[in-house]
Amino acid sequence: MSDTTDSFSEPYIELTDVVFSRDDRRIFDGVSLKIPRGRITAIMGPSGTGKTTLLRLIGGQLKPDSGSIILAGESVPDLKRKSLYQLREKMGMLFQSGALFTDLSVFENVAFPIRVHTRLPEDMIRDIVLMKLEAVGLRGARDLMPAQLSGGMTRRVALARSIALDPELIMYDEPFAGQDPIAMGVLVKLIRDLNHSMGMTSVLVSHDVPESLSICHHACIVSDGRIIGEGTPDELRNHPSAKVQQFLKGHPDGPVPFHYPAANAGNDWGIDGGGG
């Protein structure tokens, strides 16, 4: 999948020296990242390093302490409420939890963004919704309520909802989590097709290294508040950094910490002089 690097010349999203903290804890310590237009960019990294936080920063739900975030030529943190909401109409986001509206059926959930932002006639809305549900394999589940869905189904409905309006930018937060191998294959193909046919700029957050690397044009690995490795999938596979190699191959021992920052283990277990 790896194209030549020069096609990445036009960034759709550009983060420069972004610093972000949460209750005294530094989550990002100077992250700079370019997300190319019309491409799939994968963001990978250990759990809890702030991948979801990064998406929320891009969507303007959180504001960085310093640094700039430019999306389609506009500085997201400086936008007024109204312009921010207008900008978001062009974005789709698949939440890690799905976040379906629990009082609406599957059909109405997917129809929701269409009803809010357009004035299409009812039969057209019906066609679009069924098409999107068909794409995730859940056309038959249209009358179920969110409480009646399994975790993986919830996420697929949420995916259908986030692409309902064919946004310019779509951010997927862990689309593959909880999917069986068949659904996973379908989703991989769907994400690739959406990018191909519509030219959607896609940001894919995922732990599934092989799947992500197989569809993305560009990937970066976040750890310890920084980008530790970035490039085309092939460049990453041959990356010299030990951290990157450890992450891609999933070795438990190495320079990337698996544990959330903690005090010396000896203190917690009450052993004198024990080493962490």
Binding site: Q61, M93, S97, A99, F101, T102, P113, V116
Partner: protein
Amino acid sequence: MQWLADLGRQGRELIESLGRSGQFLAGFLLGVPNARVGFPLLVKQLYFVGVLSLAIIVVSGLFIGMVLGLQGYTILSDYGSESAIGQMIALTLVRELGPVVTALLFAGRAGSALTAEIGLMKATEQLSSLEMMGVDPLRRVVAPRFWAGFLAMPVLAAIFSVVGIWGGMLVGVEWLGVFEGSFWGNMQSSVSFTSDVLNGVIKSVVFGFVCAWIAVYQGYDCVPTSAGISSATTKTVVFSSLAVLGLDFVLTAVMFGDF
């Protein structure tokens, strides 16, 4: 000296949260409502907040009116003036019990439900996902619920008073045998529209505003966990009740206290 620091911190937190709730209120009150989208949402919430509260309001109004009839009769008949019972029941209900008890019941029945619903939407990221879809949750979720509470309260209070008066009549006239003509006649001649009915309506409008505001703010501002939602729900009931009772004293002093 620790308590002094604690007091200072609590005071600061209180002022901070007052400021935030004021900002929050301005956030959805100042937006221009879109009638095409807003009206159906408002109607739906009026049903949940208003219509579904009718049962508890009617039953409570009936019993309170009947109790007023009994108590009023025993007290007034000592002075041989049991014919003034209609006037007593009507004034008590219209001026005080109608607005106040309705507001207390409303806080328990509808306010807590609003808080829990908005809080749960926050905890399950439904509010976040609205934001990311370019839909402002303040206007889509909060505003219709606030307006529904605000509009429902005066109507519910009026229904409460009417049912209460009817309950008092049942006990006073039908059961204890007060002459029906003097029951209604006394009431008519002593209850003034401007000073009694209108002041009662003003009270319930104020209570509606405060209760609806507290309920939606507590939901929107809650800590998005199950413990956070449960504490927000409790706060809604406690703060609304205290605010209603405190404001009632102030309003009564201003309206009826011509010392």
